[in-house]
């Protein structure tokens, strides 16, 4: 435990519409568990810590699994602060979740600190029969936002590590992002706060 504290810490958010499979992906990645029965919606934000080595260097990942449900929107300005990366998740068998991605990108871009790395993930790859979003579409969307993309299946473990490894890789390539995080976050949170006011008033 104690040695973990000294590792460089990266904060990564997982966002996306309710039911996209964010928690499933996270639990598969962190605990290697999958429960097809369980489908409880996340409340607020769940929080997990995972150690990960990229290119022989270890990092401590603070993974924030956010709730997709609309009613938790008020929380969003409290967790974006200082996030190095954002993983956006949609469900390939649910076209609506894909169409909503544009809005999620918008939220992430306006709340996260400038230069934070985005990563698009299409989940539930195993449901090939029910697929309603083509892989090409995902790739195209990711390119439009200048981020990487992959499809995963938490059920079959396919590609589960990939998004985490690649996003960390992208984050650590940008030393500015790593060092600037504490400095920049202040500015970001101020901006986030003013947008949050209107949200609170309702």
């Amino acid at each position: 435990m104690a040695s973990d504290e000294s590792l460089p810490t990266l904060k990564i958010l997982m966002i996306g519409p309710s039911g996209a499979g964010k928690s499933a992906l996270l639990i598969r990645y962190c605990d290697d568990q999958f429960d097809s029965e369980s489908s409880t919606a996340t409340i607020g934000v769940d929080f997990k810590v995972k150690k990960l080595s990229v290119h022989g260097k270890a990092y401590r990942l603070n993974l924030l699994d956010t709730a997709g449900q609309e009613r938790f929107r008020t929380l969003s300005n409290s967790y974006y602060r200082g996030a190095h990366g954002v993983i956006l998740v949609y469900d390939i068998s649910n076209r609506e979740s894909f169409l909503a991605m544009e809005r999620w990108f918008e939220e992430a871009e306006s709340n996260a600190m400038p230069g934070a790395v985005m990563y698009l993930v299409g989940s539930k790859m195993d449901k090939s029969s029910g697929r309603t979003v083509k892989t090409e579409e995902g790739i195209e969307l990711a390119e439009r936002h200048g981020c990487q993309f992959c499809e995963v299946s938490s059920k079959t473990r396919d590609n589960v590590r990939k998004p985490f490894v690649e996003i960390v890789d992208a984050i650590v390539k940008d030393p500015k992002l790593l060092n600037a995080s504490s400095r920049r976050s202040g500015t970001v949170s101020v901006a986030g706060g003013s947008s949050g006011d209107s949200g609170c008033a309702c």
Binding site: S23, I27, D31, S38, T40, T42, I43, G44, V45, D46, F47, L64, D65, R71, F72, T74, L75, S78, Y79, R81, G82, S185, G186, T187, S189, V190, G193, G196, D197, G199, C200, A201
Partner: protein, 677 residues
């Protein structure tokens, strides 16, 4: 609940969940409640730095059902709104200028930054607890059985809270200051709400510090759940005792503890410096290193409404480590203070925290430990007990200390002030001053000649003590930053130069960006500026209430302060304007002069609905004051007949002051010899 589960929880998963108490929907509500409240708190911080004038507009979330509590609490808010627009604009422009100064912007940014960090840690902690990995049905069953067990004792006898505390005033103040955020959790049964509040307290403690925003969050939650304040404070008291009790049991060696206790007393009397005193007096020294297990803590905290496992789970690492408990209570603070102290030691001669409770022989026992700390700072002394007596009115829900600082300088000041006030010159002058307003006198420097003749008696002691107060304030700031008080929120209360000391302390904290240490502050009759810039800075380091108590009739303060920077106003004489979140309390009708404050501390605190005031002590205070007033009147009458030459009188007074000062100091020296070494 079951022992095996407890073991499991301690070993692997500290994040035992709230599901034992709450359904999914209720957990959602709880999360949202926390989110909404923290948003409101954040807004308050922004407001401090906000230039728009209307101090009162909107932003308070709808009040759900306050009516049953107190129907008339809302009255005090809507004022100031009728200001003339033209004037508004000008003031706003000026303020905008002030606020856009880089220094202010930076302070705003830093203070929000601190808050956001805290909020993030709270929200992710709540999230972890609320989203338990193992799910629902099993827990639901467990929940049922939890509720059935007799162990949960939801209506504990309030044994720590005495009947004579000002419960009602404090509750009214709670709702006014922390208006309820609407939440459906309100409709839960009272037992459940209490358990929920307790759970939140433990959850916040599991962050390993009880910082002042955490306390404010709990106050908000209390108010939103429509629970009276004393439930929170009772839980705090019990939890403090539970934690220490458990920590003590686990550490085994009672002898070590005892010895360190003995050591503590001896050392304090030998050395008056903060380095040692800070560590020894506030802290519980060493010997707490062994780990706790869930079962241990649960057995101690059986009185709380939560099961042992849940409690241990919520407390997280706190339930496992005596070291962390120790640092929470300030066992390891003070170390650095000693070092920092060197820098000031030459100038600040005397600085120590004296515990008020459990005190006959000045020893703080574990049962007197609390999760909060209150420090009272006296302004001048006429007898040595004055360091402590004004703070007797503070109740038992927080650990109360009196700050002993600069005994000599304060005694001198006290004696001279007393003499001047009793002098014939003063009574003549007083009549003259009343004819004008005291503020005009201050600004025009039009003081009666007779008064100026005797002024030399007080002027020097005052300016000496004032500069000492400024320096001692820095030392106090240092002690707080270095956690002499542990990871606990601190409330500071001071009158006269004691308030000046606190002012200097807060300014230093603001400069050093030490947010989240101070919970509430009450400054009474402050010989300090009333300038908005200054108070804004102070506001930024105070999470809870910041109260300025002033009297327009305080001639003595005006007179003493006349040689200082009066262009920035005098906080002890007037309202603080243009800063949101500062409570101005006018006590003009209670306070005829500066020397009254000493006997009015309790009364004033009671009046403003401060938490946990002992009404009996306040009554005693009032008696003393009445006696004093009579005595003074007699004296006045005796003198008023004669026509005394002010020069002569001054000389006489000087002698008298010296005599009195010497006497008090002698007494103290004898006592020190007697007690120490």
């Amino acid at each position: 609940m079951a022992p095996p589960a407890a073991k499991d929880a301690a070993a692997h998963n500290q994040d035992q969940d709230l599901t034992t108490i709450l359904t999914t929907e209720e957990r959602v509500e709880l999360t949202l409640l926390v989110a909404n409240i923290t948003e409101v708190m954040r807004k308050h911080i922004q407001d401090t730095f906000d230039a728009s004038l209307d101090t009162t507009k909107k932003q308070q979330p709808p009040i759900l059902a306050v009516q049953d509590k107190n129907p008339n609490i809302d009255e005090s808010k809507p004022h100031e709104e009728t200001d003339d627009e033209e004037k508004d604009r000008k003031i706003r422009e000026k303020r905008e200028k002030e606020l856009s100064a880089p220094k202010m912007l930076e302070m705003k940014k830093d203070s929000l930054d601190f808050f956001d960090k805290w909020r993030e840690s709270v929200i992710s902690r709540v999230g972890t607890v609320v989203n338990s990995p193992k799910e629902v049905i099993e827990k639901q069953k467990e929940k049922a059985s939890t509720e059935a067990t007799p162990e949960s004792d939801p209506n504990p006898e309030p044994r720590v809270i005495r009947r004579n505390t000002n419960i009602e005033e404090a509750d009214a103040a709670l709702i006014e200051l922390y208006p309820p955020t609407s939440t459906s959790l309100y409709s839960l049964s009272k037992d459940k709400r209490i358990a929920l509040l307790q759970a939140m307290l433990m959850l916040l403690l599991s962050l390993e510090h009880y910082s002042s925003p955490s306390r404010i969050l709990l106050l908000h939650i209390s108010s939103s759940l429509h629970l009276p304040l004393h439930i929170l404070t009772e839980t705090e008291v019990k939890l403090a005792q539970g934690l220490l009790e458990a920590a003590k049991h686990m550490s085994g060696s009672e002898e070590t503890q005892k010895r360190s206790d003995e050591n503590k007393v001896a050392r304090r009397w030998k050395v008056g410096l903060a380095g040692v005193a800070g560590a020894a007096v506030i802290g519980i020294t060493g010997g707490l290193a062994a780990p706790l297990v869930a079962a241990g803590i649960g057995s101690v905290m059986g009185g709380l409404g939560l099961g042992a496992t849940t409690a241990a789970g919520l407390l997280g690492t706190l339930a496992e480590s005596g070291v962390i408990v120790g640092s929470l209570f300030g066992a390891y603070g003070g170390r650095m203070t000693g070092k920092m102290m060197d820098a000031y030691a030459k100038e600040v001669e005397d600085f120590a925290f004296l515990p008020l409770k459990g005190s006959k022989h000045h020893d703080t026992k574990p049962e007197d430990r609390r999760l909060r700390v209150t420090i009272g700072v006296s302004g001048w002394l006429t007898q040595k007990e004055d360091i402590i007596t004004p703070w007797r009115a503070m109740g038992r829900q927080s650990e109360v200390f009196a700050l002993r600082w600069e005994l000599e300088a304060l005694t001198k000041l006290g004696s001279s002030m007393e003499s001047v006030v009793k002098s014939a010159a003063w009574s003549v002058a007083k009549k003259e001053i009343i004819a004008r307003t005291i503020f005009a006198s201050l600004m025009d420097a039009l003081w009666p000649i007779a008064l100026l003749k005797v002024s030399k008696i007080v002027d020097n002691p005052f300016s000496v003590a004032k500069s000492r107060a400024d320096k001692a304030g820095l030392v106090l700031a240092d002690a707080l930053i270095n956690k002499a008080q542990g990871e606990r929120p601190v409330t500071l209360i001071g009158y006269s130069l004691g308030a000046r000391l606190i002012y200097s302390c807060l300014m230093s904290l603001a400069e050093r960006r030490a947010f989240g240490l101070v919970e509430s502050v009450v400054l009474i009759g402050t010989p300090g500026p009333s300038d908005a810039t200054v108070w804004r800075a102070m506001r930024s380091v105070v999470s809870g209430r910041l109260v300025n108590v002033y009297s327009e009739n305080d001639y003595i303060l005006a007179f003493l302060y006349r040689t200082s920077a009066i262009q920035f106003g005098v906080a002890g004489l007037q309202e603080i304007q243009d800063v949101k979140g500062i409570e101005n309390v006018n006590v003009s009708e209670m306070v005829s002069g500066h020397l009254r404050y000493q006997y009015l501390v309790g009364g004033i605190l009671e009046k403003i609905g401060f938490e946990d005031i002992d009404v009996d002590e306040v009554a005693k205070e009032e008696e003393t004051l009445a006696l004093l007033e009579e005595e003074e009147k007699n004296e006045q009458e005796k003198k008023s007949g004669k026509d005394i030459d002010p020069e002569k009188e001054a000389a006489e007074m000087e002698k008298e002051v010296k005599k009195k000062t010497d006497l008090t100091l002698m007494q103290r020296a004898t006592e020190t010899l007697h007690l120490g070494k």
